[in-house]
Symmetry: C2
Subunit: 324 residues, 2 copies
């Protein structure tokens, strides 16, 4: 008598829905557009309607659903079941998300922040290999993070655990961060951060370089082009910038590991597309800065699930919630 | 029908024993000398004999004991119930500690590393105020640490969680650490680290200072005297060194908090005797380097239990173990 989990990965463009069986297989999936009009008040009703339609169409009884899990942007109040400050959903005021789901479906409902949920997804079905303790660091426009200890997400006293992107990592000549601090990891190790470094260090490098010329001319430069020029063209300035970039990441990873000695630190997000080229270079600095018993055991790995991390994580918060 | 816990805090000089009731009160306590002769093989038998003597003398049945907890130096193998590398106990080879206790007493036995146990003790009955997530940093000859998440100690994949003392904290002009790395927190923020700083920065300071004169003359200087001269005499070089010291600690604390957002980061160990003078200065830098949502909620506090932290923690690992 197998039961299903409905997992929802809510983003600013679409809400991706999936049905998982007890073997953690996604046996069905669909999505609905995220309509952020009317201050985002249509988002949850649209998701609910879409799930009801799915259940009717597939002739699945609600009794076959053991729970619904949602990963969402924004700040979550777990006690109240509410979400606030999800700006890409137009949710500026408190949204009573759990109440709406529980009114529609008489099954357990769980939700968590999207960065956390992705970390849990990778821990459960991806590069975390179900190890008890795993930390994920997501390198995108910003730097996000999620911490899993004993198979459970760590939230912290103010839901701010995993704010790896705002770890202060440069003290001598820091770049201002959008958060109000300066020298945050995000200013040097996000996609934006790579570009910041290429601009900031332009006068440190005397050699010939296509990348350097591009920056000097004011051409548009991206993290992708910096990593591509480093790996494929062996552009010396690009290699220099990548070396600074991975040094900063190695510092942050060593701080995490010297505190938690996790089985894996997982690199996710767009920049992780550089794969082994990135991983091996981060690992080099990570090992240099980590305690001997830690560098031999905590591994630096690349995320495996891509966009599905959020859906797997949304399912696993249901499992974790039901087992508590 | 209340039951008791026997808690043991084993150190290189003595093993302190305590009996705790269900209200977490130490209702009896005694100690035995740690005899490290014969490669430390007498240590556990002596403790066992002492506990048996206590039970007989007080006419307490073993049925009234719900468990025995031990905090010990060294590296613990939790699966095997063994301890190794406890050099101050003369335990160079693997010691089958759990087997010996379980042969003598037919009750559950739990043990953990002494730094971890002290952190759990403070979390449970001290400055941690039973918050779910607490980190303790102990400033003694070295810098130790313990991480409590969801009320449980975090061990890490290789028992090396909480190695805060070996977080790399100085990258530009690092001091060599006994661990083989350089720039570790321990080289600048232990009692030894304070003295290292007073020596290293002697030429950075041009003013008049008793401390500076002492260092120049080669007089013996201690962390205690540096903090005393800073606080009581307002010695300018001592204040300068303290400012460097607390800046490093603030960095480490912010790295921990940006990862875990714990309720409390507890400062313990000998240097914590400086109390509010130390705490407020660490807090200043901690807040400067921490994400806004974290600096408003994660608190820097001074340990409360002193030498009893280990005994309370040894008792709490019994409670945690029995509730698992």
């Amino acid at each position: 008598m197998s039961k299903f989990i409905i997992a929802i990965d809510l983003g600013g463009t679409s809400a991706k829905m999936g049905v998982l069986n007890d073997n953690a297989e996604i046996i069905d999936r669909w999505s609905v557009e995220t309509d952020i009009s009317q201050e985002g008040t249509l988002i949850v009703p649209n998701i609910i309607q879409s799930i009801q339609g799915f259940l009717n169409r597939e002739n699945i009884s609600i009794d076959d659903i053991k729970g619904i899990g949602l990963g969402t942007p924004g700040t979550i109040n777990h006690e109240e079941g509410t979400v606030v400050s999800a700006y890409n959903l137009n949710w500026r005021t408190v949204q009573h998300v759990r109440d709406q789901f529980q009114e529609a479906f008489p099954v357990p409902f769980f939700m968590d922040n999207d960065a956390n949920v992705a970390a849990l997804g990778e821990q459960w079905q991806g590069a975390g290999e179900q190890a008890d303790n795993v930390v994920m660091v997501t390198l995108g426009t910003g730097v996000g993070g999620g911490v899993v200890i004993d198979g459970q997400l760590v939230h912290g006293i103010n839901q701010a655990a995993g704010e790896i992107g705002h770890m202060t990592i440069e003290f001598h000549d820091p770049i201002d961060c959008t958060c109000g601090k300066k020298g945050c990891l995000e200013t040097v190790a996000s996609a934006t951060g790579a570009v910041n470094l290429a601009t900031k260090h332009i006068n440190d490098f005397g050699g010939q370089s296509e990348l350097k010329s591009m920056v000097e001319r004011g051409d548009e430069v991206s993290a992708y082009s910096i990593f591509q020029k480093a790996e494929e063209d062996q552009d010396e300035y690009a290699l220099y910038i990548v070396d600074l970039y991975v040094d900063y990441l190695g510092r942050a990873f060593s701080h995490i590991a010297n505190t938690l000695n996790p089985a894996n630190i997982i690199i996710g997000g767009g920049v992780s597309g550089s794969g082994e080229f990135l991983r091996s270079r981060v690992e080099k600095y990570f090992k240099e800065y980590s305690f001997s018993q830690i560098r031999e055991t905590s591994k630096v790995v690349i995320a495996k699930l891509g966009n599905d991390a959020g859906m797997f994580g949304a399912a696993q918060i249901v499992n974790n919630g039901l087992n508590k």
